[in-house]
Symmetry: C2
Subunit: 114 residues, 2 copies
């Protein structure tokens, strides 16, 4: 997902999908599809936000937040996303892990303005 920066999420409980991956070398259409998937995900019912970072060595982490396990299942089965998942296995990822977790509590901190 192309989303950068912090996600604004509601009070727990909600769900997180923790996606960690190692990219293959080269783009091979990845950036375009990644942007499209971020756009599609954010239009899905129950989508709450996403955060994503990738290191220069190819290791990346994306966490997407969802209202429910049902919303996650619907996104996983979305037609264009299914095609992207197949391309991911064929072209873009050497390895990935998906962890589905229920966020039970959350807190934040912001530096006081100087």
């Amino acid at each position: 997902m192309g989303t950068s920066g912090m996600a604004q999420t509601p009070r727990p409980p909600y769900y997180a999908v923790i996606f960690t991956s190692i990219r293959t070398p080269g783009d091979q259409g990845y950036a375009e599809t990644s942007d499209r998937m971020a756009e599609l995900a954010s239009a899905q019912a129950g989508f709450l936000g996403a955060e994503s970072v990738r290191a220069p060595d190819g290791f990346g982490m994306t966490v997407c937040y969802w209202e429910s396990a049902e919303a996650i299942a619907a996104w996983k089965a979305q037609a264009e996303h299914l095609i992207a998942q197949q391309r991911g296995k064929r072209d873009w990822y050497e390895h990935y892990e998906v962890r589905v977790a229920r966020v039970e509590r959350a807190y934040s901190w912001t530096a006081p303005t100087p």
Copy 2:
């Protein structure tokens, strides 16, 4: 946490602490303490692994995995970690979010060797 690459975690359930942050400019002793915290965390009871990436713009994500909510509470209260948390607020972070989540299911995929 300085850990790079993928964490090897057991079959769920287990816990994840999703820590997203925006760094202040400059190091200010951050890298040294980050390495020390990774070393200390990995010696804590119930620690399962950690994954971490930071983008050049200062936005970073770290996910630590733990056997239980009790193990997370013990790490949060660890003496040297408490001091690091205070320094984090004073020197290292403009903003952070902490989300504690229970991992309910997980799966992975590895590209076939060519």
